[in-house]
């Protein structure tokens, strides 16, 4: 925990004449949101520990444009996309990993038509591949025997059909993985997508995140695992709303893995 993080930028790498194995796209939440920054750091600790050569764009990174696009502002989205693509192409980025399913979806699916072709993977898929290649070993550690449920982020699950990687990772922790009544393709949104994160909800009789938290609490978990900084915030708020902060934690899969290894 004490060792400081090694976080090279693409610019530094270029100055040394090297290309990292993978570009880590941090995302706005991962860069600025206090809760999400912890996820970013946990992921970097794993990358550092496993000696993965990576780099970030740092101050050259900008919003992918996802919230603008989902809000209906195609102009702003495309401007963001084209600026980002210019930067990414200048660095000849090939493989991009990100801990945000919204960045993941946009970079992977919506950038190609605007001239940005990359091999984009979500951090859960990347961590899974590190384990499969024998570069990372994971044991239960502090989580052994705990009851964990996984909330499928819409933009990872339904939108891109990534259901197994996060579950495989959780299972590596010697825990009891329990499924909520709605999961995978039937998963319920946390309520943040489609730019909802940035506005008040329309009048109704409940907030979506509260409903989703109820789904999760029904299976009586010790931990709700998430794979998205926005889901993380929504579920954390939901847990607070139910006054269950003492009993149930919301954690990103990267945090679970990093903590299990005492990183």
């Amino acid at each position: 925990m004490s060792e400081s993080l090694v976080v090279p930028t693409m610019a530094e790498m270029l100055a040394q004449g090297t290309q990292p194995e993978v570009l880590f796209w941090v995302g706005c939440a991962g860069s600025f949101d206090d809760r999400a920054k912890k996820i970013t750091k946990a992921f970097v600790r794993i990358l550092n520990r496993t000696n993965v050569s990576f780099a970030v764009l740092g101050t050259e990174e900008s919003c992918t444009g996802d919230p603008a696009k989902r809000a209906g502002n195609e102009f702003l989205f495309q401007m963001q996309a084209m600026m980002n693509i210019e930067v990414l192409n200048a660095y000849e980025a090939k493989k991009i990993v990100t801990a945000c399913p919204h960045c993941f979806n946009t970079l992977k699916n919506e950038y190609p038509e605007l001239g940005g072709q990359y091999d984009v993977i979500h951090h859960t898929e990347f961590l899974k591949s590190l384990i499969d290649d024998g570069r990372l070993t994971v044991e239960g550690g502090q989580f052994k025997g705990k009851k964990i449920t996984f909330h499928d982020p819409c933009y990872l699950g339904r939108a891109n059909k990534v259901y197994e990687a996060p579950r495989d990772l959780i299972q590596k922790l010697d825990v009891e993985l329990v499924e909520m009544k709605r999961s995978k393709a039937n998963g319920l949104c946390c309520g943040a997508g489609g730019a909802q994160m940035f506005k008040d909800a329309e009048p109704g009789n409940k907030e979506v995140n509260v409903l989703r938290t109820e789904d999760a609490l029904e299976v009586k978990p010790d931990i709700i695992a998430a794979g998205c900084p926005f889901c993380n915030t929504m579920l954390t708020d939901g847990i607070k709303h139910q006054e269950k902060e003492e009993q149930v934690k919301v954690m990103d899969i990267a945090e679970l893995i990093a903590n299990a290894q005492d990183l």
Partner: protein, 445 residues
């Protein structure tokens, strides 16, 4: 005189199919009011989708009870249409069970399976009716369905029951006459009647002539009923029995998270970002250019697949029942989005018919008059509705196109979203942080 029946029958067929053809023409015309979108690529994947989803009902069985019952009705519908071929030939040429001598035992098996399916259809339809009217499943009593849509659903169930009963009674009277010792008129022995044999005894004690007359009545009502039902489709959600096939064929094949790219915007953005572009140069004049509108405020701004979607929607409400916004009491109902789109499209179509082929503005639009911004802004773009729809409709794509109109044409986003967008524009993040601080997390504890 003896040809009178055949002539009447031919007229009935011509009128029935004639009306039907004119409705089909109208539907095609209306769908073509939408803008073009390329859905002709990758035909292999498209056929596969159609085979699995429309023909194979793969998405229906995700809700097993409704799924299996629906398969009864669906298979019953298809198979009984085969019987229709024989009925039409018999009707036109005055024959009776024309296929029987050629098919032998196979004919017996066919008729027997039609009967079993007919009874399964009646069973399924009864359960459907109970689910709607007695158990009152939430998605069927939702206010979206108030008025015609609710009656429509029930009419279809009644119609199907009556058609199946007529079919079984027709067979039963036929069987009764086939069994007359020494034979009666043209009722030769043919077919096997596992279900209608239990109905046949009601004819005992009636004169053969009366039963023969009853047979004629059942026979005519059955075929006439089918023709009426076919023409009812145009007014009904039942149109899905035909459109589910093209609809699944033309459905979006991209990942659900990939929203379409607006080409018109790409052009403008490229021009804006091109350092060599002369900002004062007049835009090149394109003779054929239609003044482009961003997003959709009315049905003509939607693409033809979205309009096909609207005609295909069966109003089953699976989308709405899985929608997080709807489940938390918000006004948004993806089913209503589809129903509104269809209603408005029908209205525009009628307007065109009434005005000799051109649309005369009626001071109404899909946006506001049918769908309110409040509904549109409640969507989390989670794709639950798209995933859930048994015929691959995307209510979300319509919601997104209408949001685009609100934002890009009317600058009518909720204030908080405007703030978010300003932040992205100025700071490269939806929050008010400086882009220069993006890496600060590295050294924070």
């Amino acid at each position: 005189m003896s040809y009178l029946d055949n002539i009447l029958f031919a007229i009935l067929l011509i009128v029935g199919f004639g009306f039907f053809a004119s409705s089909v023409k109208k539907i095609i015309r209306n769908i073509n009011l939408g803008v073009d979108v390329n859905r002709k690529d990758n035909s292999k994947a498209r056929w596969k989708n159609m085979a699995l989803i429309a023909l194979g009902q793969s998405k229906m069985v995700r809700r097993p009870v409704a799924g299996i019952l629906h398969i009864f009705v669906y298979v019953g519908f298809i198979i009984i249409n085969i019987e229709l071929v024989e009925i039409i030939i018999d009707g036109l040429f005055g024959t009776h069970r024309i296929f029987a001598p050629y098919l032998g035992v196979i004919y017996d098996v066919l008729i027997a399976s039609f009967e079993i399916l007919a009874i399964l259809v009646i069973f399924a339809v009864t359960v459907f009716w109970i689910r709607r009217n007695v158990i009152r499943l939430k998605r069927f009593i939702n206010p979206d369905l108030n008025g015609f849509p609710k009656s429509d659903a029930n009419y279809i169930l009644y119609f199907e029951t009556v058609l199946m009963l007529l079919f079984l009674f027709m067979d039963a009277s036929d069987l009764h006459l086939q069994n007359v010792p020494g034979g009666f008129s043209h009722f030769h022995r043919a077919g096997s009647f596992p279900i209608s044999q239990f109905i046949a005894p009601i004819f005992n004690g009636m004169s053969n002539e009366l039963v023969a007359l009853l047979f004629e009545v059942f026979w005519w009502l059955h075929i006439a009923g089918i023709l009426v039902f076919m023409n009812y489709l145009y007014f009904s959600k039942h149109l899905h029995i035909l459109l589910a096939f093209p609809n699944t064929y033309f459905a979006n094949l991209n990942p659900e998270g990939q929203f379409d790219n607006l080409e018109s915007v790409t052009k403008e953005v490229k021009l804006m970002m091109d350092p060599n572009a002369d900002p004062f140069a007049a835009a090149p004049v394109d003779e054929n250019a239609v003044p482009s509108k961003f997003g959709a405020s009315d049905v003509q701004d939607l693409n033809w697949v979205q309009l096909l979607n609207a005609y295909t929607c069966t109003e089953c409400g699976r989308c709405t029942s899985s929608c997080p916004a709807n489940q938390t009491g918000k006004k948004l109902s993806p089913r209503k989005i589809m129903m509104d789109t269809r209603d408005r499209l029908q209205e525009v179509g009628k307007n065109i018919d009434a005005n000799k082929g051109v649309f005369v503005p009626d001071n109404k639009t899909l946006l506001n008059d049918y769908i309110t911004p409040e509904e549109l802004w409640a969507c989390t773009s989670c794709n639950a509705c798209v995933e859930e729809c048994p015929v691959n409709i995307s209510p979300l794509s319509i919601i997104m196109d209408m949001r685009r109109y609100l934002v890009m044409e009317q600058s009518a986003a909720p204030m908080s979203l405007n703030a978010m967008m300003t932040n992205i524009e100025n700071n490269g993040a939806p929050w008010q942080y400086s882009q220069q601080d993006r890496l600060n997390w590295k050294n924070e504890n």
